[in-house]
Each structure stands twice: as C-alpha cells, then as structure tokens.
C-alpha cells in the first residue's frame, strides 16, 4: 500500500497538488459558511419582525408599521455588522493591462486567466508546476478595505428583481379588487401614466437645476467625478423615485376598511405606477444611449421620440406577454382535467406565473409589468377554473411569498444603509431630492384631480386628494431600481439618496397614516360590498365542481347546501352593512361619492361586453358558451371550445362568475350623505371610535380577509382519500 501511494505521488507526469486542492476546498467551504451566516442574519431579523408584529397585534399597540419595524431591525443589525465585524481583508493582486492587449482603450475583459507557479510538494519545495485560475469580472474597484462579511451582507442586486419583486407584484395583481379598480379605471390610468411622467419630469427638472449648481461650485462633486451628472441622470432618478409603494399605506387602509374608492385610487395608482416607473427608467436610459453621440445636454427630439416609442413598445410588449401567459394558463386549466390533482395544478399555476416574468426578461422587456398583468389575468380567468383546493392554495402561497419578500426587502433597506460600502452621502442632494418629490407629488395629484373632476360625476374630494398626496411614500420598487446598478459614482449617489427617502417616507408617512385619516375626516369602516359577491362566487364554484369532488354525494350536498345558506346570509348581511363611519357622526361628512352606470368609461364598457361574450366563455367554464355568442359559421369551432361543464350549467351568466368585477348592480349601494348618520348598532354591528376600529382589525398584514373565511373549517369527510376499503 505504501509503495502504491509512493508511486502515485512520485509519478513523473502527475501534477500532485493535494495541498493546493485543499486550499481551494477550504476557500469554498469558508465562503459557504459566510453565505449561510449572512442569510441567517436576515432570517433571524425576519423572525423577530414576525414575533414583534404578533406582539403588537396581541397587545394592540400601534407605534410603527411592520415595514417600519423591518427597517428599524435592519438598521440596528446593520450598525452591529458594521462596527463589530472583523477587519480580515481579502487578498488581492494588482495587474496592469499590457499596452498590446486588445482590451485596452475599449472595455475590460470578461475573464482573467492567471498562471500561478506552485510547488507540487510543499514540504520539499520541489517540482515547480503552474496552474491556471479563472477570475471573473465584478465591477469597478472602490474600497479595497471592505471585510468579507460586509461584502456578503450585500446581496446580488439581481436577487431583488428576479426573486423578491415578482411575488410582490404578482400578488398585487392576483389579489386586486378588480371591481373597484375598473370603476376608477380612468382616474387610475391618468394618475399612473400622466402622473408618473409629470412627477419624473418635475423631480428631474428640480434636481437638474440643483446639480448644475453643485457641478459648478461643489469641490466634493468634482472630487467624486460627478461633473457629468447630466439631465438624463436626473430624469432617471426622477423615474425611479416616482414609483410609489402600495405596501404600508394599503395595509392600514385595509385594516380600517377605508373608503373603497380612495383605496382603489391609491392601490391602482401605486401598482400601475411601479410598472410605469420601471419602464420609464428604462426609456430614460435608452434615451441617454441614443443621444450619446452628442454629449451636450440639449434635448434631442429624435431621441425623445425614439425612447417614447421604446417606452410604449416595452410596456405593450410586457402587457401582451403577461396577458398571453395568463390566458395560456387559463386554457391549460380549462381544457385539461388537471384540477383532479391539486398539487399538480398549483405547481402549474406557479410555474406559468414565474415563467411569465422570465419570458419577458429574456425578451429584454420588463418582467415586473408582465407579471402584474399575468396576475390580473390569472385572477380574472384562471382562478375560475381551479379546483377549490388550488384556489385556497394559490392565494395562500402568494400571500406567504409576498409577506416574506416584502419584509425581506424592508429589512435589507435597513441593513444596507450601514453595510453597503460605497455610499455617497450628499445632504444637499438628499434635501433637494426630498423637496423635489414633494413638489412633484403635489403637481401630480392636485392638477390631475382637478382635471379628472371636470369629467367625473363622483368627484375626488379634497380630503382624498390630500390623502393621495400623503400616500406617496417610496418603497421596494424604487429601492430595487436603484440597487440594480451601482457601478458609477452617479448611481451610488442615487442609491444612497433613494435608501434614505424610502426609510424616511415609510417611517414617517406610514406612522402617521391613521392620524392623517382622522385629521382629514376620511370615512373608515366601510364594508366592502364586493365580499358578498365573492361569497356568491365561491358558492357557485362549489356547485360547479360538485362532480369533480371526490367526497361522497350525500356529504357533498350537505356541504354545498350549507355553503349556499351561508352565501345568502352574507349577501343579505352585506346589504345592510355598507354603512358609513366617521370619527364623529355629527361632524360634516365628506362629499358623497355616488357610483352610477354612466361612470364607467366607454372603453371599459366595450371591453366588458367583449370579455363576457368571448373571453370568459373561451377561457373559463362561464356561461354563455361560445356556441351561443360566436357567429353561426364558427359553430364547429365553438363546439370544440365549449366544455360539457359549460353546457351543463343551469344558472346562466352572473352568479357563475367568481369575479363580476365590472358589473355594478341596479341596487348598487349608494353610500354618502343620506346614509351617513345611520350607524348600525345591532348585535353584530361594528361601531365605536376610530381607535377601537384600529384595535379590532389586523395590524396591517395585508391579509385578505376572504382567505380566512375560505379556510377549512370542517375537515373530516370519510372516504375522500380514494383508497378507502
């Protein structure tokens, strides 16, 4: 044995470098250990956040919102990491690119191959061999002093865009209350598109003025090499900082059951404007590329047009992909019987939704926008085809993913303030940016509301406008756009500023939302009328699926009967429940918002009819079947696309649908001045001051209450397993 071993190491051709291999292996192991430790820190922070949220809920405290909590914990741990971590430095070697290299004067190489001379036998220092190692491009060198753990506590920025944002945005689309969204469609689109553009221009303009001053007079800026901080950089910052965040405010709105139209306006605006801001930021970058032949800041109108086209192209492309993938999923779930296997069905749903994101990204479009529209389509069509189990599963899954991702982002924002080691703090720029976003928000909300009110029957009252102004806090999207590229000094400045703005607005605006609602006398405790309909929908879904359920007939009937009763009960209850609540009923109420048929935009009505007649019958099991709506010449084709289930449905139209989001009943509840003084005081009626309302509700988890009702409450059904004897 010993001889063999000797032969192995003395073999002349052998590059016996077991010690060296060991070095590499240890390097890999140590790096893995630090990765784990790093991720563990964030998990512990998340756990602490979860427990603190629970404690706050349980003790009915409400100092700070959960996103604020995440940031605060992040800040604390960031400080700890920064000031305690060992200063064990990474070891590096300097090289200069030789003059004859083809890479000189163009761009740095992607990889470096390094030849290292080594002894094959360390003990005897004999047998010189060479090994070639691979090194890959990382970016500019900034601060060689950074320690290993600090380096690691900053994640790859791509993680935010590829892993954390998609579930947040998808969940926004999937759980969107489309009824109210479409009722205010015109206003939302105006705010999201025109408003974001206005905000971007104004913020960009103000900062451009400011940067001209700095470039000329600030020695710090010269030292930082920021003299080329031009108009397009300012506009890029304007675009990224114009993405308002729905998380914090909406969680509070949701808890307090704030006025549904205000909710829809704020939610719709913030969701769509994320998408707009992302595409806008891309378009500004494109503009700077196109314009780059002339270095001057003069506006190049051709480039503006080109980047406008780019903007529209990307937005529409992403919209098309999102809708297309959503429809494909609907078709797959409609025409296969995959609903018999809920695990497969849920997996398919998840895979298709994430594929949407990746498809859009692979085509250089914007995945976030695609995934938003995919979410809306999934909710509008696919949801109706899912088995009851998958409905609950998908809702819960994305709720959980959304919760984890959101909190992770906010914790990371807190940590990054201290651990990111290329911050560029410029108090002047931060102050200017804060001022600019306030001005930009003001010139977005008030003038557009005024213009919209000219055409709206249900005006947006002033207190709503103030609230929208106040709701303009910045969050995950702005952060993700800023962190995506921090390779240049200008981008570093933007990143630092964005981080501070996010923290300030989330903690301040988030913390004072309740006070602001109270101060502006905005009605809270408005029962959402759509919930009743959702319940009807679930009931009819149960009826529809009777034949697919594996439970025994007798029990199935029992369950659905019970379901039916319940649904009716709720429908009745909600008829009485749409009461108004002001903090003091005797105060002057805000102007009433009256929803009427004529309110719906012409385009929305057109689309609605098309959707009812063709899209829903094609993509879901809803009535009327295509055999009735398509012209006679397509009879065969229509027959092919219509399922038995669709034809077998007894009840026509309405009640079969799980999201009658655009229909507004004749008996639509008109809540306003006339109902205002009535406060239901029955045994189940909710009443009391704003404070008690807050204490009653969730503390703002963004939990969709419908989910709670959809929870399994009767579990024991014999004979479902399929293998009973």
């Amino acid at each position: 044995m010993a001889a063999d071993g000797g032969a192995a190491t003395l073999s002349p051709a052998g590059i016996s470098n077991s010690r060296l291999d060991e070095n590499i292996e240890n390097k890999v192991k140590e790096s893995h250990r630090i990765d784990s430790l790093n991720l563990l820190i964030f998990l512990i922070l998340l756990t602490m956040t979860v427990l603190t949220i629970w404690l706050f809920k349980h003790r009915r405290l409400r100092f700070v919102h959960e996103t604020g909590l995440g940031i605060l914990y992040g800040l604390i741990v960031g400080v700890i990491i920064r000031y305690t971590s060992t200063t064990e430095q990474k070891l590096w070697q300097n090289f200069t690119l030789p003059e004859e290299s083809p890479f000189n004067f163009s761009h740095p190489p992607d990889n470096i191959h390094l030849e290292v001379s080594l002894f094959s036998d360390m003990a005897n220092k004999t047998q010189l061999i060479t090994q070639e190692y691979l090194y890959s491009f990382k970016g500019l060198v900034y601060n060689a002093e950074s320690t290993e753990i600090e380096d690691k506590a900053t994640f790859d920025p791509e993680i935010f865009f590829n892993v954390l944002l998609p579930p947040i945005i998808f969940h926004a689309g999937y759980s969107m209350k489309r009824r109210h969204f479409f009722r205010n469609f015109g206003a939302i689109v105006t705010f999201a598109f025109l408003g974001t553009a206005v905000s971007c221009m104004i913020v960009g303009g103000i900062l451009y003025g400011f940067t001209r001053l700095m470039v000329t007079y600030s020695s710090l800026w010269k030292q930082w090499g920021l003299t080329n901080f031009g108009l397009t950089d300012c506009l890029f910052f304007g675009a990224l900082i114009s993405a308002t965040d729905p998380v914090t405010i909406l969680a509070i709105f949701h808890d307090l059951n704030v006025d549904v139209d205000l909710y829809a306006l704020v939610f719709g605006e913030s969701v769509l404007n994320d998408a707009v801001a992302i595409v806008l930021a891309g378009a500004v970058e494109k503009y700077s590329d196109v314009r780059a032949t002339g270095i001057s800041d003069a506006v190049d109108y051709k480039a503006v047009l080109e980047s406008l086209g780019n903007f529209l192209g990307i937005f529409c492309g992403a919209f098309a992909i999102g809708s297309f993938m959503g429809c494909i999923t609907a078709l797959l779930t409609k025409y296969t019987q995959i609903r018999d296997y809920p695990l497969l069905e849920t997996t398919l749903f998840f895979l298709m939704s994430y594929s949407t994101f990746l498809t859009a990204e692979s085509l250089s479009l914007t995945g976030i926008v695609a995934v938003l529209f995919c979410g809306i389509c999934q909710a509008h069509y696919t949801y109706n085809n899912l088995s009851q189990e998958s409905k609950v599963r998908t809702k819960q899954l994305f709720e959980l993913l959304n919760f984890l991702a959101e909190n992770f982002v906010f914790i990371y924002i807190g940590v990054a303030i201290f651990t990111f080691n290329r911050h560029r703090w410029d108090p002047g720029f931060i102050f200017a940016a804060l001022l600019a976003i306030i001005v930009g928000r003001g010139l977005n909300v008030y003038p557009l509301s005024f213009l919209l009110n000219l055409g709206r029957k249900n005006k947006i009252p002033m207190n709503f406008q103030h609230m929208m102004m106040f709701s303009g806090l910045r969050g995950a999207i702005a952060f993700a756009l800023a962190i995506r590229n921090t390779l240049t000094p200008a981008r570093e400045l933007m990143f630092t500023t964005t981080l501070l703005i996010v923290i300030l607005t989330v903690i301040l605006c988030g913390g004072f939302t309740t006070q602001m609602l109270q101060w502006l006398r905005i009605r809270v405790g408005v029962e959402d009328e759509s919930e009743a309909q959702n319940f009807q929908a679930v009931r009819s879904a149960i009826n529809k699926q009777k034949r697919y359920q594996t439970m025994s007939d007798a029990q199935s009937n029992g369950a659905s009967n019970q379901g039916g009763d319940t649904g009716d009960a709720i429908a009745t209850a909600s008829g009485q429940s749409n009461l108004n609540m002001t903090t003091s009923p005797t105060d002057a109420a805000p102007p009433p918002m009256r929803i009427q048929e004529s309110e719906k935009a012409w385009l929305v009505m057109k689309w609605y009819k098309f959707d009812q007649k063709f899209m829903k019958p094609l993509l879901t099991h809803a009535r009327p079947p295509l055999t009735e709506t398509l012209p006679a010449c397509c009879g065969r084709f229509a027959m092919f696309l219509t399922t038995e289930q669709q034809l077998a449905q007894a009840e026509p139209g309405r009640s079969d649908d799980s999201d009658e989001d655009m229909i507004i009943d004749e008996n639509e509840l008109t809540y306003g001045a006339d109902n205002n003084s009535e406060i239901l005081d029955g045994e189940t009626g909710r009443k009391g001051t704003l404070e008690s309302m807050i204490d009653d509700g969730d503390l703002g988890l963004g939990v969709d209450r419908r989910d709670h009702r959809m929870q399994p409450t009767r579990i024991l059904i014999p004979g479902i397993g399929g293998d009973d004897v």
Copy 2:
C-alpha cells in the same frame, strides 16, 4: 443648457467615461438576460413534466416514473443546448503571477485588481485615464471554449445544498409516518449507520483496487493527472454514492399501499442514510486533511479515530441543533397566541425551519441532518400547537416546495450530462463503480438483515430483502454531494460517474419497481392503520381548538360532530381494511410479520415514556400537564409552564395527541398468514389485480393522501371574517 453640458464634460477633473459606463451596464444587462433565459428553460421543462405527469395519470399510463420523466426531458434539452447554442466565446486575458508576489508558491489570490487605460472621450481619442476593475476567484481553468449559455446552464452548486435539498429533506421529516418508523427503529438505524458504513467501505475498497490498476496502466489517467487518486478519494466516492434516494421508489410504494413495514424500512433507511452519507463524506475529507502529512495510503489509525470523532460530533451536533430549533418553534407556538394569525404562524414556522439549516451550516455542521431532525420535531410537537389553518398551510407549502425541488434536481441531472463542460468519462471507472455499488448494497442488506432477524420477532422476509436490495437507487443527495466540489480532476471523474449512476438507477430501478413487487410477491393495497389515528387526532385537535375558532358555536359543533362520526367510521373501517393482497391469493404468501409490544426497543420505550410525561406537556398542549408529572418541588415552575388550555382539557392523554406514533394498541392488527386469504369484497373494498391497483392510485406524486382529506370542503361560514356588521 448646451453650455452647462459642455462644462460638465470638459471639466478638467472629470473622469467622463459615459461610454465606458454604458459598456458595463450593457454587460450587466446581457448577463441578466441570459440568466433569465437559462432559468426559463428549466421552468418550461418543469411545466412540461407537470403536464406529462398529469397526462400519464389521466390516461393511466405508466411507462416511466416522474423523476425519470424529469431526467428524460432534461437529457433532450441538454442535447439541444449543447449542439445549438452559439459559440460566442467569452473574452479573457492571460496573466502570469509575478515572481515576487506573496501568492506565488502558496495559493492563488482571492481577487485581482486590473488597471485598464482608456480614453475618456472615445471620439477624439484624447485624455487617457485609468480605471481599476475587480475580478474574483472562480476556480481552475479547464475549457476556455465554453459558450456563455452553457456556462450558465450550470448553476452554482451551492444552490443545490442551500435551496433545493432543505425542503426535500425537511418534507421527508415532516411527513414521516413516525409510527412505523419507530416500530422499526432498530433495523432502520442499523441499516442507516452500519449499512452505509459497510457500503462506503466496500465501494471504496473495490474502487481502490480498480484505481491502482488504472494509475499504473492507464495513460489516460496519467494524462488527466489522476495518479494521486488515492484511498481517501475512493472512500469519499463510496460515501457519497451510498446515499440512497427515497423519492422514486417511495412514491410508487405509496401509490400501491405496499406493506407498511417494508415502506418504513426503505423510507427510514434512505432518509437517515442521506444524513449519514453526508456526514461520512465530510469525515472522509477530514481524514484526508488530518492524514495529509504522510502522503502514503497507509491507514493512519489516529486520523481514523479523529475523523470518527468528527463524524459523531457533526452528527450529534446537527441532531442537537435540529431538535433544539424544533423545540424552540414548539415553545413559541405554544406560549404565544400567534395561532390567531395563521399567516404569521406559517411564516414563523417556515423561518424557524430554514434557520435551522443555516444555523447548522454556519457552525460548520451539516444543515441537511439538522433540518431532517427539525422536521421530525416540528411534526411531533409544533404541529399540535398550530392553528388548523396553519396545519394545512404548512403541509401544503412543503409539499409544493418538495415537489418543485425534487423535479428541478432530476431535470438538472438530465441537462448537466450535456451542458456541464468538465466531464471526465471513463467507462472503466463507471463500470467498476456500478459493480461496486451492487456488491456494496448486497453486502449491506443481506448480512445485516440476517443479523437483525436473529433478534427480531417479526423477521424481515427474503422478498423484503430482495426489494430493499433493488430499492438502492441513487438520487438527489449523491448528485448534490458530487456537484458541490468539481474543482479537481478526481472530483470531476466522480461527478460524471455519479450523474450516470443516478440516471441509470432512477430510470431502471424506478421503471421496474412495479414488476419487481409483483415478481417478489410483495403485498400491496395494505391500508395504513395510522391514517385512522391521524383522523382521530385531527378530530381531537378540532375539539381542542374550539374556543380558538372564530366560527359560530352552532356550526362548530356541527362540524366537529360530523368530524367525530367520520373519525369513528374510519377507525372502524381500518379495522377491516388491513387486508393482504397478493397478485394471486392462492399463491404461497410471504412469511408473516407480526408486530408485538416486545418488539419495541428498550430505549425507544424509555424515551416514549419520558416524551409523554415531560416533553409533550412542555412543548404542546397535551395532557397530562407538567403540574402532574413534575415532582412537587417544581410546582410553581410547572404551573408557569402549563397553559390554561392544557388544564381545561377534558379528555386525558391518548386521544388528545395528534401523533401517537409509538403506541401500539392491544388490538394492534396482526396481519399475516391468517388474514392472508381473506380479501375484503365489500362495496368499498379495494380488490383486483396489481395492475388495477396501480391505475387507481396516484402515479407517484408523493402526495400525502391525508392532505386531500384535510382540504376545505365547506367554505361558507358566515361571520368568520371578523368584520361582519
């Protein structure tokens, strides 16, 4: 404006390199696009797998198991990627480490800083500036010809260990049928520890003999620098290849309701031996480190002892951390009222479980082992404290994650055969390895079974032994261990060989399991008696939680009554359901397996009593409370640890528990020769040939059928939302 712009670029101190920034930005974007495309490929493959699985189930086909399907799809796409991808090569630059560098003769530097000379203004080629770029260490250079997409289609190996394996292993622990597991505890531990060690030694030994031949005679091995492929390398390979995979076989066993004891043996062995193999592989590596002062292959007994200590230390450490974190979660869920908020509860559960993995990894222990025992603890204690909603949520969540991760791994195995560009194919080594694992498996199963049978009352019959021999297919763990380090030629050879062995065994053994069961006349269609108990458990859980449920009283009663009936019904049914099924009842039946009280190991009984008296009362709401079991002197302390809920429980002991996994009733069902000829032929009885059994069941999704039963079947309960008026 133009003047300002001009000032910006002409500013003397400005390093105006906007073109350069653009280059970097484009580089980042392109890399992102390829990342997305790459992940998209895998998602599409997963989607195709899901759809094909559904189709197979639907059409009742059964050519190949789902894991085999994943591999096949992976192989196809791997071929496509390999032979169609553009050959756009990465650009690199060669450097030689200067002689005076401190890194020469020791190890390569972690980072390289590269100075590049560039023109600040590309158009005019003026103003030479230098930029410093960062490059980070990647590993040895092997094949400079690899294209970008191929490079990307190989993921970071750490992903497998940190993202994909934990949910698979946790799910195995969390969904383990502990009742049968503990009933066969002695045999399982023997197979897992002793068996894996035996297998590792034998495979290592055979391959060592083979490699001595190759090292001496093979010119290819000399050319590859494999002359130092020594005993520890062989043992390392022996350890990694000894991890048998539970996925494929068990899915089939589950579908066919194969004999519970065989199921428990195969499941328990494969789950525990994953853990053992991982730690064993680490210990062998450690041994080679310690022993490295002497290069000879002579066994260094001190080093052996040291690495044995290392093995035990790591295993026990990981076990301790897993159990500790599981208990912490149980305490958190018991003593907080977090169950009132199921989303928070599920999040906490998820975070604690993944933290377990990371904690163990951060301490240089084995996360996989920790997460396995954490899963068992979570199921044993925490599960009882969870709200009904979270019970369902956590089960479903980990089921989904497990399904996705498993299929991803198998698809990746298929793809990697073609896209991994540092394969070392040596047919001789592959053949020797295959032979070695067959011999190793044989010398593991048969002698150990013989020894175990000497002490067992319910002998392990020969057909079970043959089946265990056949069940030794290799999967995700072996793959993950092999891919974790492919930095040296020896490791590359191991990786390639492992990949092939996994593919061969999964496709061959997986495909012929059903035939093998039939051929060995192993009973299938055995109703699992533990399910009845699970149902009782759920019922009592409902009773327990009555006061926490927000449903109206009347309905709650209705539900639990119904639940009660159901539970009883099942309990009764299962009394009759433990029938045997052979393909032809007249054939000679396999020897009976009789389970008796005395079967339980002494240690297991001791632990069981301790668990019932102290652990469960401390960690769950189960009776008897600690106030009764702790000595009087600890009265205050015991009172503090006992919840109101615990004291308020009417029913004592047994039926309150959701996992009476170690109790075996007096009326324990003795299935064996006496029952063998009875085949229940009632209206609900399952009967028929093996083929019909297969067609009836799932095709092997690993779906826990209990989950189906736990699905929400009655959804509409008025007044649960908490905000009804």
